[in-house]
């Protein structure tokens, strides 16, 4: 099995006619964990949604390849089956559909007809992963995200990640609204995925999550593109100096921000 690779080249994305991402480049391989940081409204979540294929986000130019498959040519569900995963900042609630049914349908969608996951195996795997995330058994039968607290929704995103085993995952502010315990469980879940067949891009405002999930690289995004890349120490520097310090260092004076 070849190590998966995600290559994003000069990506430009508009939302409702407004240009938000302006020349985003990223190259990630399986086994790597990258962090994407930056002030509000610089286009981090836009990159995530555009890569997953949200219909509201229009890619105006650039390329995104997963291995040799052109993501931008694919429908949302095809991207997922190719190995992309997005843990969303605001996951939808789907009334009347149990978490377990949803997950099983998703897994079987990937595996294809005639190759469905045996029910017992599914249940066992689900139990194990829920235990790791300290999720109560009842979550399997509860309707997807309905009545979940913010923290429960985030854990449910990670549960899906662990069950679906994608090649690449983008975690869009998975740490927002999490208390310290939940943060640790989420980190434990993500760390359990670590292998050379899995790459992960963590979008976050804070360095805190990176104490628990050690990134290989940290990227700083401003004004719709990556302006600086470094190792884990870059996140620490940011924590100390703030984005203003970073702007001064990079000579960025234009304070233009955009809606996320």
């Amino acid at each position: 099995m070849t190590v998966p690779e995600l290559k994003i080249n000069d990506l430009h994305v508009s939302v409702e006619g407004k240009s938000i991402v302006k020349g985003f480049d990223l190259d990630m391989k399986g086994g790597e964990i990258h962090a994407l940081m930056g002030p509000n409204g610089t286009g981090k979540s836009t990159v995530a949604s555009a890569l997953m294929g949200h219909p509201k986000y229009e890619v105006t130019s650039g390329q995104a390849f997963l291995g040799n498959e052109n993501l931008l040519d694919m429908a949302v569900d095809e991207r997922a089956r190719a190995g992309m995963f997005l843990a969303m900042q605001y996951p939808s609630e789907v009334s009347g559909v149990s978490n377990a049914d949803f997950l099983r349908t998703a897994i079987n969608g990937r595996r294809g007809e005639g190759n469905e996951i045996p029910l017992m195996k599914f249940i066992k795997t689900l139990d194990k992963k829920m235990q790791m995330l300290e999720m109560d058994q009842s979550f399997a039968e509860r309707y997807v995200n309905e009545g979940f607290s913010g923290g429960e929704k985030k854990r449910n995103e990670i549960l899906q990640l662990m069950m679906l085993e994608p090649k690449f995952a983008i975690l869009d502010e998975i740490d927002s609204g999490l208390d310290i315990d939940a943060l640790k469980w989420v980190a434990k879940g993500v760390n359990s995925m670590r292998s050379e067949n899995f790459g992960c891009l963590i979008i976050t405002h804070y360095q805190r999550l990176l104490n628990y999930i050690k990134p290989d690289k940290v990227h700083i995004m401003m004004q719709g593109r990556i302006v600086k890349t470094g190792g884990p120490e870059l996140a620490l520097q940011l924590e100390k100096e703030g984005y203003d310090g970073m702007k001064a260092e990079l000579g960025i004076t234009d304070d233009e921000t955009v809606e996320a």
């Binding site: 569900d77 997922a80 949803f102």
Partner: protein, 435 residues
């Protein structure tokens, strides 16, 4: 005044003969003849925004060959699938082409005074008791279709639960039609006396061989003081069937009725569901789902009338509209003067799955009292694109994702049905109609 001089395909002589052949008592044949006269005089109902003038409500055979009773194993598989699994059949009455062919009521319930029989038997064996309830909750003269029901009734069930009897196992009725051009004219009475409790579930289905059929169903439910009735139903007539169905309840002081209706006919349907909260503290919970498909036209009127003080009602209608189907959903909550402390809530949600489909949800509140709580919500919309995106982002194909969303949308009512076989029937129906 519209002209209703349409010749009815039956007359007094035929109806009298029919009644005589069935050995019906005088009071009953009098109601038949009254129904016949009224059927000639009265107009069809006028459901809002649905044209029913050319629907075939009257042209069918009502005199069906009586079918001999049979063993469970001889029943059509579609019927057997609805029954309680295991050695012991539940308390059940099965009607094929309007005739009761199988009947079981546990000795325990018989000993407690519970009566559960087909209508023909009830007319013979419990005539006086039946007469107290027959066409009392729903008037014969409501419109032409109730009058037709009175004149031509050829099926139905009678359930009587005496005072203080609490029945935990559900009581089931199944109606199956497989003869062409036959009308099911069914009248069902459910009576729950003071402080009793019962769950009743009825299923209506037809085979493809039952072409050009018609169903005229009138159900009257009497909920006594402090009594509880859970009434579940799954309607599954084929697209060849024209259906009129009326389900009406009268609830006494502190009584409670819960309706769970799966209205899954494939043919044109006119449905009237009504609850009269007569006594103080009476309560109603109404949940109904439907799926419109093909070119069928349907009209659903759900009505709750608050008369007693501190009466409470909750109405939830959920529907999906496919293809070129056309459905109208009326929810009417009426709070009468004097019904202080009443609380009436209604919600209707219609999901449109095609550009050609039509669905209207009309919320109507009529309030003649100050000290009340009343609320309504009605929406007609498409599948939420964010939900669709979310499911698809996990690798689920669009069609499958849409199906999941629609099934989930209708699930709250499915989950309420108390008999597993019927729950599965409704879930399978939803799956088939959505898929």
């Amino acid at each position: 005044m519209s002209m209703q001089l349409k010749n009815l395909p039956f007359d007094a002589e035929a109806v009298t003969n029919y009644a005589e052949n069935r050995n019906e008592p005088k009071w009953f044949s009098t109601i038949r003849l009254k129904g016949l006269t009224l059927a000639e005089e009265l107009p069809l109902p006028k459901p809002e925004k649905t044209r029913i003038a050319d629907w075939n409500f009257t042209d069918f055979t009502y005199q069906t060959e009586s079918t001999d009773s049979c063993q469970l194993s001889e029943l059509p598989s579609a019927v057997r699938g609805l029954m309680k699994k295991g050695e012991k059949a539940g308390n059940v009455l099965i009607h094929v082409n309007s005739s009761a062919v199988y009947h079981h009521l546990s000795k325990e319930l018989i000993d407690q005074g519970v009566i559960y029989t087909d209508l023909a038997t009830a007319i013979r064996d419990h005539s006086d008791l039946l007469a107290n309830y027959y066409f009392k909750t729903t008037p014969i003269e409501k419109h032409q279709l109730t009058a037709v029901n009175a004149a031509l009734v050829n099926g139905g069930s009678f359930l009587y639960v005496p005072k203080n009897v609490v029945i935990s196992d559900p009581i089931q009725a199944v109606y199956y039609q497989d003869a062409p051009s036959v009308g099911l004219v069914a009248h069902t009475i459910v009576v729950a006396e003071q402080s009793s409790s019962v769950t009743f579930v009825e299923s209506y289905l037809s085979d493809v061989s039952a072409t050009d059929g018609a169903a005229n169903i009138v159900n009257e439910v009497v909920v006594g003081e402090n009594a509880q009735v859970k009434f579940g139903a799954v309607d599954e007539f084929s697209d060849q069937f024209v259906t009129y169905v009326s389900r009406q309840a009268e609830v006494a002081k502190d009584g409670r009725i819960q309706w769970a209706l799966g209205q899954m006919n494939d043919g044109n349907t006119l449905s009237e569901n009504a609850t009269n909260l007569e006594g103080d503290g009476a309560a109603a919970d109404i949940k109904a789902v439907s799926i419109g498909s093909g070119s069928q036209k349907q009209n659903f009127d759900n009505y709750v009338r608050h008369v007693g003080k501190a009466t409470k009602s909750q109405l939830l209608v959920r529907a999906a509209q496919k293809d070129a189907s056309n459905s109208i959903f009326n929810a009417r909550t009426k709070i009468e003067h004097g019904a202080s402390g009443a609380d009436g809530e209604q919600t209707q949600r219609v999901l449109m799955l095609s550009d050609e489909a039509r669905g209207d949800a009309n919320p109507i509140l009529l309030i003649d009292e100050y000290d009340v709580i009343a609320g309504h919500a009605a929406s007609v919309g498409r599948v939420d694109p964010d939900q669709l995106y979310y499911l698809m982002s996990r690798g689920i194909k669009q069609e499958t994702a849409e199906k999941l969303i629609v099934e989930g949308f209708l699930a709250p009512i499915v989950d309420l049905l108390p008999i597993e076989g019927v729950r599965v029937q409704l879930a399978t129906l939803i799956e088939r109609k959505v898929g």
